[in-house]
């Protein structure tokens, strides 16, 4: 059974543990900017935090775009072959979600390789915002989320500099126990 990485952005706190563990295990250096996963935080109203990770597409756009056939798909994992890559970045531009990365120190573009079947990001995420799930269940979380959101979707109206605006948000899971601390 093939498994895939899936993200639940609503849960993400933007802590970047996923980036750190990815970079450390793939490049052996402490540098989140060398990770194969990236968390985008967008600050204006309201905060969005979105981990971006390769979807390992069935028909990879990155592969199609590559002029030297340096991108191949094996065992469900889309891989860039270093010796064939000429670093033209065609794949970087072709990926619809921006899941191929570049860094000045690294000659060829890099992307998620699923850690040989035990993805570190999913294992380390303290918020369970990255899941490693069987392919057929992929989308289930989103489907459920979409249905729930539809049911719980709320809207607020507010004024900013005298202009009326609307904001949509979903009610999130809640609960309550107590603890004491500073």
């Amino acid at each position: 059974m093939r498994k895939k990485l899936t993200v639940i952005p609503e849960r993400c706190s933007g802590c970047r543990v996923c980036e750190l563990v990815c970079a450390i295990s793939h490049t052996g250096v402490n540098n989140p900017k060398k990770a194969n996963i990236r968390v985008i935080s967008l600050y204006p109203h309201p905060v969005i935090k979105m981990p971006i990770v390769c979807e390992q597409c069935k028909k990879p756009k990155c592969r199609d775009a590559c002029p030297t056939d340096a991108i191949v798909k094996n065992d469900g994992v889309v891989t860039i072959l270093e010796d064939r890559c000429v670093s033209c970045h065609a794949c970087v531009n072709a990926c619809p979600i921006g899941a191929i990365f570049v860094h000045e120190d690294i000659e060829i573009p890099f992307k998620c390789d699923m850690c040989g079947g035990k993805p570190k990001c999913a294992e380390s995420c303290p918020k369970k915002a990255i899941l490693y799930v069987p392919e057929h269940t992929q989308g289930q979380a989103h489907r459920l989320g979409a249905a729930l959101k539809y049911a719980n979707m709320q809207e607020v109206e507010y004024y900013e500099h005298g202009v009326k605006k609307k904001l949509r948000y979903a009610e999130i899971e809640t609960g309550g126990t107590r603890g004491d601390s500073e």
Partner: protein, 620 residues
């Protein structure tokens, strides 16, 4: 001993007057002796300061210092200190913030930055790895902090750039102005934002791409993997993600230490309307964490209806909810969120402003100031409109706000009769923990090097837990222990919460530091260095004229017993406090006037400080 990692050993110097920058390489000895973060900051302030320094003059420096562990793979490695001479207190001041800002500075290749001088026009600093430029920020004049951050990023054209900025309050040199980064994380205390404002520096934007040096990354990873696992297993871990510091409202109210109506009381009847459950059930729309932190103690909240609908803010945490809740008599969480938002956007510290606003309400209620003094607005407990308006007036220095913007000393200068109402130490407004039932908390506030701030020592929980039967000696030791271990976190550049809240072993930090630097360190060795830094900041303050009479808790702690709640009727005893202060000095190795003795300084490796202390002892 030469560290193989942990440090780039580089400090960025920026002179805004000369419009020049240069990079200093620091020695191994300096790096290891002062560890980093506020340790480096304090030492650099000591070295650069003049005895007659004007905190808002071009000569004052401000040091931006993450620590040697900032940015590394370990829990909560995202703290950065800002150290300077405080315009609010006139003595040493520092404040820190979490998030991503300091990590980015480290990734640009610097362990710290020192800023001095004054730019000819409003400017910002753009650090793009090694390329450092001072650019015009005239376009961002009077812009709010959150908006400036967003706008700067957009103008630079890179969403990943990290920005620290001041709001209008900083530009107006309001003495409680903060430095804000990552959409509302604040270095709030001691007016560091005013220091940037006095330098005409609106913001610092950074893009860093470099690897952080680690001597033994495989060991660091091993220790950290274990640390993360341990934290995740703690039974309060998940609760922490959900409510963060907002859970403290219930604890503080039940314990009778929540500031209420300008610290007149320590119990708030309506605490249940502003607690963590209220936030979680009705306002929370997301979580937010500092760099590499599993706890994600920040909450993103939204006001969904009513007159503040559409207010979105990362926060509040306990201090803000208490200072703009119980302490000003507000029991409406919508209004607390709004106050938090306004403070963040204007760039005003929530503790200091919440405190002085409550002082004015009490003063007006007691007829100690006139309606005219308040620009014709009658102030009442819980009057959110008037309170929101005061926040704006402070930031923009309008009417009565102009006096409040000058902080504790400004208020006392104009209205000397209000002095007994203000809960402060050395000019810094007290944090949101009452000290009347805990002499250790009072001692911690009184002897804190920056003024009445809880982050230096928070012994109150322990004292409550221990009950009555322990000696003043033990109590003084507890305060000293806190004042040694807690600053260590600021020096390393990490957050203390995993240690305090999830019982994380502090010895692990010695392991992290050893793996990062490649030199074996024990916790004891680190604590010794932290202790030396405490003596150093003490020396800075003594050089600036501080003496024993300044080591006292807020007057209210002795004079006005708590009114209601579990500790109704209690107040601190003045003689007992003087006794514990004597014991504290003695245990610290300070003389009876609170000046570190020559032996103490020698032990701390602060030989060059001795001369100054001798001069003070000689009365010069």
């Amino acid at each position: 001993m030469s560290p193989e990692g942990g440090y780039h050993k580089k400090i960025l110097h920026v002179d805004l007057t000369e419009c020049k920058t240069h990079v200093e390489t620091v020695s191994d000895e300096f790096a290891l002796k002062y560890i980093g973060g506020r340790g480096w900051g304090a030492r650099l302030v000591w070295e650069h300061m003049k005895d007659d320094v004007n905190p808002l003059g071009p000569d004052n420096i401000i040091v931006i210092a993450p620590g040697p562990l900032s940015g590394l793979y370990l829990p909560a490695a995202g703290k950065t200190s800002f150290c300077s001479i405080s315009p609010a207190t006139g003595i040493y001041g520092d404040s820190n913030l979490g998030g991503m800002f300091g990590v980015e500075l480290r990734m640009a290749g610097f362990d710290a930055a020192i800023i001095k001088g004054k730019a000819p026009e409003l400017s910002y600093l753009w650090i793009d790895d090694d390329d450092v430029q001072i650019k015009s920020a005239v376009k961002y004049m009077n812009m709010g902090s959150i908006e400036t951050e967003h706008q700067l990023r957009e103008d630079i054209g890179d969403e990943t750039v990290k920005v620290a900025t001041i709001g209008p309050a900083g530009e107006n040199m309001v003495k409680m102005a903060c430095i804000t980064a990552d959409w509302g994380r604040n270095a709030g205390r001691t007016g560091m934002g005013a220091v940037l404002g006095s330098k005409n520096l609106k913001a610092i934007a950074i893009r860093g791409t470099k690897d952080l040096p680690v001597a033994d990354l495989p060991s660091l990873t091993r220790i950290s993997d274990k640390a993360f696992k341990k934290l995740k297993q703690h039974n309060l871990f998940e609760f922490w993600q959900r409510q963060g510091l907002m859970s403290v409202i219930d604890y503080a109210n039940a314990s009778g230490i929540i500031p209420t109506h300008n610290f007149m009381d320590a119990h708030f009847d309506k605490a249940e309307e502003i607690n963590g459950d209220v936030m979680e059930l009705n306002y929370k729309i997301g979580d937010s964490a500092c760099y590499s932190c599993p706890m994600a103690c920040s909450n993103v909240n939204l006001v969904k209806d009513g007159k503040y609908a559409g207010t979105v803010i990362e926060g509040p945490e306990y201090e803000t909810a208490a200072m703009f809740g119980s302490n000003v008599g507000i029991s409406d969480f919508d209004a607390i969120l709004r106050a938090n938002y306004l403070c963040d956007e204007y760039g005003v510290d929530t503790i200091s402003s919440g405190s002085l606003i409550s002082v004015m309400i009490e003063a007006y209620e007691k007829g100690m100031v006139s309606l005219e003094d308040l620009d014709g607005v009658a102030l009442k407990w819980g009057d959110d409109d008037a309170i929101m308006d005061l926040i704006r007036k402070i930031a923009l220095r309008e009417g009565v706000g102009d006096t409040l913007a000058d902080g504790v000393y400004g208020v006392i200068k104009r209205w000397p009769q209000l002095a007994p109402l203000i809960s402060h130490v050395k000019g810094l407004e007290q944090s949101a923990y009452d000290a009347r039932i805990a002499i250790t908390m009072a001692l911690g506030y009184a002897t804190s090097d920056i003024g009445a701030h809880h982050a230096r020592a928070w012994p109150i929980a322990k004292e409550l837990e221990m009950g009555g039967n322990w000696s003043l000696e033990e109590k003084a030791d507890l305060v000293i222990y806190h004042q040694t271990v807690r600053p260590l976190f600021d020096m390393l550049g990490v957050c203390r919460l995993p240690w305090i809240e999830l019982g994380f072993d502090e010895n692990t930090y010695a392991e992290f530091y050893s793996a990062a630097t490649g030199i074996e360190f024990t916790l004891d060795e680190l604590l010794k260095r932290s202790d030396a830094v405490y003596n150093l900041t003490r020396a800075i303050n003594i050089r600036l004229g501080l003496s024993r009479v300044d080591d006292k808790p807020p007057e209210r702690v002795f004079n006005d017993p708590i009114k209601t709640g579990p500790h109704a009727g209690k107040a601190l005893n003045r003689e007992e406090f003087e006794r514990i202060l004597d014991i504290y000095y003695q245990r610290r190795g300070w003389d009876n006037d609170g000046i570190p003795t020559n032996e103490t300084l020698k032990e701390n490796g602060l030989e060059d400080v001795i001369e100054y202390m001798e001069q003070r002892r000689a009365g010069k």
